[in-house]
Point group: C2
Chain length 397, copies 2
């Protein structure tokens, strides 16, 4: 497995005592050589301190990063000037422990909003991570960034002679704008920071920004890419495709592990008046608590899907809308077994048994055709279950 990883990166995942449970809660990724870096961050107007720190770091030193450290258990959000100083100190502690130059390590935090970072434990985590860094510890790093995630999320891809590896954490608050979603992606391709930023932005829009768990957007969302160039230059299209594919893989893993999720739902909207309209409509369906509880209950209550499209803001001619459902992922959108429920805005006769079988399954593919234009998109979401309420009713305890 380590053979498939990008060359020149080491990883660590250790327990620093930040989580009350004693589980691993401090992760590190370190490149032997300096990297080009790019990042996409939350648009929340209460950005967490590490987001503010990393934005500035990437702007001022996009050619000179060496790695990143991530803690789980405390978000360092809504912590004011002191929080910003803590984020800078977390970076400094990691740089010192790793023997990396100043201003070369990015920082990320995830967990409860409000409390200050426990800096003594952050310091201990940096020391322990420095000792644990190895090319074989990628899985340990991915495990250490989990919060309510039930499993670590990693993916690898090849792009010509280069490789890409990424880890992500998600679970709750996943939304259009990447709520409480952290991802670190590393590659040995040689790519400049500007090109990397453009490719990352496009890949994130098609992946992490096309998923929804509950419609919330967090203070800490960050996707960071580091490229150390050890494998030399790679064809730009090949690299872009690999990055897209890697991000989509990680994003779908996040949906499948959404808080309390029991189903994976692909929502395609096509023939919308515009791509923006398609996105609005698909997101409204994916974010609707009524749709998501109906999926959870296996109830073929398709009227809620059209009702969500109807309040999305997308242009609609109700006499032109069609709706299909199918069992499976997006490969099933146009499958022979798909069931048309609505044609030209009217319910069609269908087998309630067949519909219930589809809604009762673990993977559901929904297509809404608005019959208006060329706009289309696909988003992924999960259902809303009792377990979601359990998890989020008592998150801090």
């Amino acid at each position: 497995m380590t053979d498939a990883l990008p060359r020149g990166f080491r990883f660590a995942g250790v327990a620093a005592g930040i989580k009350k449970t004693g589980a691993a809660d401090f992760a590190a990724v370190l490149s032997d050589a300096t990297c080009s870096a790019a990042g996409v961050f939350t648009r929340n107007t209460f950005p967490a301190a590490p987001v503010l720190y990393d934005r500035e770091l990437l702007a001022s030193n996009p050619h000179g990063l060496r790695g990143a450290v991530v803690n789980a258990g405390c978000a360092n959000a809504c912590t004011g000037e002191e929080g910003l100083a803590d984020a800078a100190e977390m970076a400094r502690l990691a740089e010192a422990a790793f023997g990396a130059p100043p201003r070369s390590i990015a920082v990320m935090s995830t967990g409860v909003i409000g409390p200050r970072l426990p800096m003594d434990r952050i310091a201990a985590g940096a020391q322990a991570a420095a000792a644990a860094l190895s090319t074989g510890s990628a899985a340990a790093a991915a495990a250490a960034i989990m919060t309510t995630d039930t499993r670590p999320k990693t993916a690898v891809r090849a792009a010509g002679s280069a490789r890409l590896w990424g880890m992500a954490k998600g679970a709750g608050m996943i939304h259009p704008n990447m709520a409480t979603m952290l991802s670190v992606i590393v590659t040995d391709a040689a790519v400049g920071p500007d090109e990397l930023q453009g490719l990352l932005r496009a890949a994130v829009d098609r992946s992490f920004n096309s998923i929804s768990i509950d419609g919330d957007m967090s203070t800490n969302d960050t996707v960071l890419v580091l490229a150390n160039g050890a494998a030399g230059a790679v064809d730009a299209d090949v690299f872009a495709a690999a990055l897209d594919d890697l991000c989509t893989d990680l994003a779908q893993q996040i949906v499948r592990d959404g808080e309390g999720a029991t189903k994976f739902i692909s929502v395609r909207v096509r023939s919308a008046a515009s791509d923006d309209d398609a996105r609005r409509a698909a997101k409204a369906v994916a974010n609707s608590p009524l749709v998501k509880t109906a999926f959870y209950g296996g109830d073929a209550n398709w009227g809620r899907i059209l009702a969500a499209v109807g309040y999305s803001g997308a242009a609609v001619d109700s006499s032109r809308a069609h709706l299909w459902i199918a069992a499976g992922t997006e490969d099933a959108f146009d499958s022979a077994g798909r069931l048309q429920l609505v044609g030209h805005g009217r319910p069609l006769p269908y087998s309630e048994e067949a519909a219930t079988a589809i809604f009762g399954g673990a993977e559901i593919a929904v297509t809404v055709d608005l019959g208006l234009g060329e706009g289309s998109t696909t988003v992924w979401t999960c259902d809303l279950s009792h377990a979601y309420v359990d998890i989020n009713g008592h998150y801090r305890t």
Copy 2:
């Protein structure tokens, strides 16, 4: 109780066999004299057939209405041209049964989206309602429009010599734009249709459009007012205040009876850059599943409140925000017992016990002060509980 009702109206609530349970499912309100009428309808782009019918009716005959009939158990939504014909036929059946002129009865429907109205039962309902109409049956009418509501919702107010009475149904899908919310309000004040429309629009914005259960907006939302003039003219300000107060009372009853609701939450945003910004921020808090599950769990996870404000689109300077919580309704916003959790964007030291006691209570008042301008608003919402998931996972069954 009937003494307090507007003069010249009769009511009925009967079982027509539309609901599988056999419960009352057909309501009627009939005025002895013709009424001025006004209505506010859903903005969903898949409006249900009765919404289309009533919009046209009010536009063409705003001085000549006699009443309204409402069925529960079937929404007559997404039913195409046939559904529109069914809505017109429902009105015609009621007009014939009540001895009212053509085009004088408005129609409303609530229930499952998709199926056609069972017209034989609608016809039977109209006949039964005609036989049951009486001045003492207002409560029966309010009970007959319930779907997942656990209790009927009515309110009465005086405005000088005139009186107002209203009934509402709500429960799920309640949102900014009045999702699956029906209300019929009758008054014996003499008010022209144009004035009535303006007053209703303003009252609805401050009441039904300031509540949220789950952020969805239905295909059927309607608020209808009928004024028969039996009490003569009333001071316009007095009437407007009474209408506002009546609508707010009904709207708050809907929140308190939200699907699975265990708590009543008042969210005030003040010192926003504008009233629109205040509304955006308050709605984001009121609609956030993470905030609502935290309220349900009694977990003082206040960071989620600021995170929701942060993605609302409202202008924010994170160093100027303040947050208070208090036990009670909006009267408690500025009470001595309120607890400040955040000042100038930073967490303040507070008693975790006191915070937990407030979050654990049945009524919670939240104030967010953005420190930017004069914009303010208050919205009302409920928590997101296991019972919500139960109800909506199996609504049709």
